[in-house]
């Protein structure tokens, strides 16, 4: 039986990808960021997931303003890294898991989550930067990846509660998949940042730290946050944090916080990162 063993939350700042791709990881500015993921790379190499479900947002790459799906699940066999205007990132093609993805799609739609199925999609930094942070720079990504794109570009994104509930539905779907697969789910984006308009550069570490605490210990509290609170407190683009709640909803009610990292800044953004283990995995490790 397939099972979700852990969740990873991480920012997906494009400049982090650029720093990696351009060999700047040893510069002190970037060393501060990458050092925070060394433990995580070891952790995921030990866990060896068969599949990672990566909740991310497309940044006007695969989806323009012609069609804006709220939740879009990638069911293809592969997803090519996109050219976002600077040329495609030199990272491996992302290989999907079409069978599990199709199972999740069918299961959550019949569970009343009306998501969009995507069979052809290029993936941008929102998906590839978290892979680089967790897996480094391999020739091929070490596992299958199922992308779940969430609209956070055109207001309003889905509510935090809706994201959390979808996560719970994904959990039920994975639990009912017959093949023996180890699954890790990523929630990406955030933390506080605003990259648009005269208020750009906003960072709110108090908000971010409270959000990290809420992810670990009190998700029922943070799923009640309203969109306007995210935008006012954590910057217009800080609303990306609702995507972390999909991941949180897919985990146990009580989780073990295996790892936490927080630093300011990476370019315009506060970088936050969590590894949350379901009890089964935490127990197996002890």
């Amino acid at each position: 039986m397939a099972r979700i063993v852990a969740g990873v939350a991480t920012s997906h700042v494009p400049a982090i990808g650029a720093a990696l791709d351009n060999g700047k990881t040893q510069e002190p500015y970037w060393q501060r960021v990458f050092a925070g993921y060394e433990e995580s790379k070891k952790w995921i190499a030990e866990v060896k997931p068969d599949v990672c479900i990566v909740v991310f947002n497309d940044h006007a790459t695969a989806f323009s303003v012609d069609i804006v799906p709220t939740f879009a699940l990638g069911c293809a066999a592969e997803f090519a890294p996109a050219d976002e205007g600077w040329g495609p990132r030199p990272v491996p093609t992302v290989h999907g898991h079409p069978e599990l993805a199709a199972h999740i799609a069918q299961s959550v739609i019949l569970d009343e989550f009306d998501l969009t199925i995507v069979n052809n999609m290029e993936v941008d930094h929102g998906l590839t930067v978290p892979l680089s942070l967790m897996f480094g720079q391999p020739e091929e990504w070490p596992c299958k990846i199922i992308p779940l794109a969430v609209n956070v570009v055109l207001f309003p994104p889905p509510t935090g509660k809706r994201c959390f509930d979808l996560g719970a539905a994904i959990r039920r779907a994975v639990d009912s998949y017959p093949e023996d697969l180890k699954v890790v789910i990523f929630g990406t984006g955030g933390m506080s940042h605003q990259i648009s308009g005269p208020r750009a550069g906003l960072i709110n570490s108090d908000f971010d730290k409270a959000f990290l605490d809420g992810m670990s210990h009190d998700p029922q509290k943070i799923i009640k946050l309203k969109h306007v609170e995210y935008m006012r407190e954590a910057g217009a683009e800080g609303i990306e944090m609702v995507m972390w709640l999909v991941m949180r909803g897919a985990l146990d009610e009580h989780v073990h916080e295996r790892y936490r990292f927080y630093t300011v800044p990476a370019s315009n953004t506060a970088v936050g990162h969590l590894i949350l283990e379901n009890e089964g995995l935490a127990a197996a490790a002890e």
Partner: protein
């Protein structure tokens, strides 16, 4: 029927890209989207005003694009993730664009970020922002 209340309109220095803005800015955003292709980036650079004609921008939008008035593009319906493609075409990073939108030099902006970023204190509502 009551119009939807836009609570977020009181957040200062921020244009929230909602459905109204996205309708207004369709042309700007689709123009920016076209710049994902290298051949289009080159065509635009070769004849900016000519290239824009295919996208049905208003004269105001055309002017904002040609003058690279980044904040005005957002006010006229552009979205940052789209206008960033125009920035990329000009060789600008997100941080360089953000510096321009805040009216800072790139160094001033980078220094502010290194010092922990812009505090939310004084930046939560329009009334406190003016002070």
């Amino acid at each position: 029927m009551q119009p939807i209340e836009k609570e977020y309109s009181d957040i200062p220095g921020t244009t929230v890209f909602d459905a109204d803005q996205s309708r207004k800015g369709y042309g700007i955003n689709m123009f920016c989207m076209s710049l994902l292709k290298d051949v289009n980036r080159k065509a635009f650079k070769a004849d900016e005003a000519g290239y824009l004609k295919a996208f049905n921008l208003t004269p105001e939008q055309t002017d904002a694009v040609l003058k690279r008035e980044w904040n005005r593009m957002l006010e006229l319906g552009g979205n940052i993730y789209f206008t960033a493609k125009l920035g990329a075409t000009d060789g600008l990073s997100f941080q360089q664009m953000a510096a321009k939108m805040t009216g800072s030099t790139q160094q001033e902006y980078a220094d502010m970020m290194l010092a922990g970023g812009r505090s939310p204190n004084g930046a939560r509502t329009k009334s406190e922002w003016k002070k």
